[in-house]
């Protein structure tokens, strides 16, 4: 067996190499630390189903667990935080003294201020309206996540028993720059992309007239639908489960602006029309009253809403 013993000179050279590598590593580490100052995020759940935080858990590359370790300090979220009761509320209000980004899901009830309280602080119930106005005033940026927060959504469905209004409306006298991410729920990428833009550029991405990022909401589902060719050839599904155009079943793709057809859901696997069902317009401002009935058999191919929207776009 051949044993090689390094000469003292060689030994020295190796030591030097190791030192250089360590120096370089240290330099990189300190550079990485510079950009490490995490942004604080408060995620407030109001009157809704908490489906948007569950949807956010479904985001990948980066997943929420990665964001928590590297980019953000999530300082308040009812569903995930360790603290409870008074301590949780204290954490909320302490965070609000510093710079933070506010994400809100759910609508705000107005029929009675106490219809929805988010918790009890120093013995007193804090209503959703109080919380949203207090935090909305102080936040660096506000993101309304999901259709309830953006438009009232299902929480405000007729006859709106709780008198729910959107977060945008609840904050209308305070600020007009609330970023809207409608969808029931909102796609994790829509939130993660918007958050990344805020963190990197300190401002919101380009928004449309309803304050939605054009990047995600620029085109209708119909514009990019994978089944568009069936529509053009007027081949319409008559029942769910068929693999052609869903318009005759009441598809709301023509009026609903999201990138569902190209992005798809849950690690980019599928989407409602891919499941052989019509789009129910869950990201539309009139959802659910204006986009229902969700499924209708023997429907004529030109629904009133669809033709209206088409006419508008032709002009």
């Amino acid at each position: 067996m051949k044993v090689t013993i390094a000469s003292p000179r060689e030994e020295k050279r190796r030591e030097k190499g190791k030192e250089a590598a360590n120096n370089l590593l240290e330099q990189w580490k300190s550079k990485a630390r510079e950009g490490e100052k995490k942004k604080k995020l408060i995620w407030l759940e109001l009157t809704g189903c908490a489906g948007n935080i569950i949807s956010l858990l479904n985001g990948i590359d980066p997943g929420l667990e990665e964001l928590l370790q590297k980019q953000i300090d999530l300082c308040y979220n009812n569903s995930l935080m360790t603290a409870e009761g008074d301590q949780a509320m204290k954490q909320l209000f302490t965070t609000a003294d510093d710079e933070f980004i506010l994400a809100v899901e759910g609508a705000v009830t107005t029929k009675d201020e106490q219809y929805n309280s988010i918790g009890r602080y120093q013995g007193r119930l804090i209503s959703a309206m109080e919380a949203i106005q207090y935090l909305g005033q102080r936040a660096k940026s506000v993101i309304a996540v999901g259709t309830c927060a953006t438009y009232g959504g299902i929480s405000a469905a007729h006859p709106n028993p709780s008198g729910s209004i959107s977060v945008i409306k609840a904050l209308q006298n305070i600020r007009s720059d609330v970023i809207s991410l409608p969808g029931c729920p909102s796609h994790p990428d829509w939130f993660l992309g918007t958050l990344a833009y805020l963190i990197l550029y300190g401002t919101s991405p380009t928004l449309d007239s309803e304050n939605r990022p054009i990047l995600f909401y620029g085109l209708t589902i119909h514009d990019n639908c994978t089944r568009r060719s069936f529509f053009e050839k007027r081949i319409f599904a008559r029942q769910l489960g068929e693999q052609t155009c869903m318009i005759a079943l009441g598809c709301r793709g023509p009026i609903t602006r999201t990138d569902c057809p190209t992005r798809e859901w849950n690690s980019y696997l599928n989407w409602p029309i891919g499941a052989n069902t019509p789009c129910i317009g869950c990201a539309h401002r009139t959802f659910p009253d204006g986009t229902s009935p969700f499924v209708q058999y023997e429907r004529s191919a030109t629904s009133t809403e669809a033709s209206k929207e088409n006419n508008k776009r032709r002009k």
Binding site: T47, G48, C49, G51, N52, I53, S55, L57, N58, I60, G63, E65, D73, C75, N78, S79, L80, M81, T82, A83, E84, G85, D86, Q87, A88, T95, D112, Q114, Y115, N116, S117, I118, R120, L125, I154, A157, H158, P159, N160, S162, P185, Q239, L240, G241, W265, N266, L269, N270, P272, I273, G274, A275, N276, T277, C282, P288, S292, F294, V295, Y297
Partner: protein, 483 residues
């Protein structure tokens, strides 16, 4: 003089919940769970197209939406007199199974674990605050391992929702579950992806999740003795058998038979009984609703009354034969004979992990049975007048949807969720709800850090998403529960 303690918000559950207890010495002598379940869905559904109920009721809850699509489809099938094919039912059960996996994984790691392990406090989300408890008993090595698994559970639970999306379109709030079963055809590419994801979850369950709950059980074995409650158990049955199987088991069962758990009521120390839908009632006495006699859900009313004296919850109080019942994984495992008849905070937590494996086994069987490329759908016509009831067990326990159709529109809709059973307020006989009963008698070690309460509450996996909490100032002053 009893000491009053309030926890609000009880975090790490879906929705808003306030727990109020009275402590004498070191023992809880009275407990009140204010369930915040009212968003008025039952009012909103009136007058809508009946088929809309499937996508509409899913929005009751973001973590268990599929449960509502299953229950509403069942109710509509009864109302529309649609006989589901075995293929349709098997496909729907498969998708429903995915939701069990997602829910149990997320509840156990993201909601329950932070009560027992020390997560890295550098992250704001994991800070406990100065007053919070230090009753964290795991040695560093075990703790580190469970923290790793906590972080890994993010990607594993995500896979369960990926499976759901393959056949459901998206999650939460799927599109695939419908009258007749499912709308997505199980082609080979979908089936193998589904199976691969299922295998990954199974491996995590066997190698990590189940050992992890037993690690908790070892260091917190006193929790086998607290949080018991009444011990009355209820299930509406889960995963119906195929007719072939029923044929083979004809001697045992005549009508419906289930692969996992039979629909049954098991009163504490009593004899197991078959479910009779007419024995389900709801008491309105302590809910913020206009009062009346205990009513059957098919004729139940939902008229809010926020001024009502002594009311303290948006939950009505469901009862079976007048009994408050516990529902959920532990109830199912005991009824189906897979777990000894012992009930506690820790047993509930262990049952949740064991059930994941139970559900995976059923799903593997279903995958064997389904035929490729076939998802039966039809054009469903709505009768002028009809009614339907959909009862099924879902992740958190027994779920029921009751509907009446008149003039081809929804005329009446009532939902009783599993959390309404577990977290119900008292009824007209003064019987507490199961969670309230489980809290009473609990010894609190440190009065200023009552960690026992949150641990017991979360063992029921409460889901109170559809919350509109009414708490008028007047209401609070009027509540006297120690009368």
């Amino acid at each position: 003089m009893a000491l009053r303690k309030i926890i609000n918000p009880v975090t790490r559950l879906s929705g808003f919940l306030e727990i109020e207890v009275y402590i004498e010495g070191h023992t809880i002598v009275e407990a009140k769970s204010s369930s915040l379940l009212f968003r008025g869905f039952e009012i909103m559904l009136q007058g809508r197209n009946p088929l809309d109920a499937i996508y509409f009721t899913q929005r009751i809850c973001g973590i268990c939406s599929t449960a509502h699509s299953v229950a509403s489809s069942l109710a509509l099938e009864e109302a529309l007199k649609v006989t589901i094919t075995e293929q349709g039912r098997a496909l729907r059960d498969l998708v429903h199974g995915c939701e069990f996996l997602q829910n149990h994984l997320r509840h156990l790691y993201l909601y329950t674990m932070p009560d027992f392990i020390k997560l890295p406090e550098a992250q704001c989300l994991f800070q406990k605050g100065e007053q919070n408890h230090q009753d964290l008993r795991l040695p560093k090595k075990e703790n580190d391992l469970l923290v790793d698994h906590y972080l890994e559970s993010f990607s594993i639970s995500r896979k369960a929702h990926e499976m759901l999306a393959i056949f459901g379109g998206k999650a939460p709030h799927d599109h695939g579950i419908f009258v007749g079963g499912l709308t997505v055809h199980p082609t080979i590419d979908k089936v193998i992806k589904f199976r691969s994801l299922l295998d990954q979850i199974k491996r995590f369950t066997i190698e990590k999740m189940i050992p992890d709950v037993y690690t908790l059980a070892r260091y917190y074995d006193d929790y086998f003795h607290i949080g018991r409650g009444y011990g009355n158990l209820l299930s509406f049955g889960l995963f119906e058998r195929s007719s072939k199987e029923i044929e083979a088991r004809r001697k045992e069962e005549i009508q419906k038979s289930y692969r996992y758990v039979e629909a049954a009521f098991l009163p504490y120390k009593g004899k197991e009984k078959r479910i009779n839908k007419n024995k389900i009632t709801e008491s309105l006495r302590y809910g913020w609703y206009q009062d009346g006699k205990p009513e059957r859900p098919i004729e139940g009313t939902t008229i809010p009354d926020t001024e009502k004296e002594k009311a303290y919850s948006w939950s009505k109080a469901p009862r079976y034969e007048g009994y408050p019942c516990e529902v959920g994984p532990l109830a199912r495992l005991i009824i189906s004979g897979h777990y000894p008849y012992q009930i506690s905070m820790m047993d509930r937590t262990i049952a949740r992990a064991l059930e994941v494996l139970q559900v995976i086994m059923v799903m593997e069987q279903l995958l064997e049975e389904i035929a490729l490329q076939e998802a039966p759908q039809d054009i469903y016509t709505i009768p002028e007048k009809t009614k339907g009831i959909g009862l099924t067990d879902t992740t958190r326990g027994a779920l029921g949807h009751w509907l009446i159709i008149d003039n081809q529109k929804l005329f009446h809709y009532q939902v009783i969720t599993p959390s309404a059973w577990n977290l119900s307020p008292r009824d007209e006989k003064g019987q507490r709800g199961p969670l309230e009963e489980a809290l009473v008698g609990t010894k609190i070690e440190k009065i200023d850090q009552p960690v026992e309460i949150g641990r017991i509450v979360r063992s029921f996996d409460p889901c109170i998403s559809c919350a509109t909490h009414v708490h008028t100032i007047k209401g609070i002053q009027k509540i006297t529960i120690l009368d």
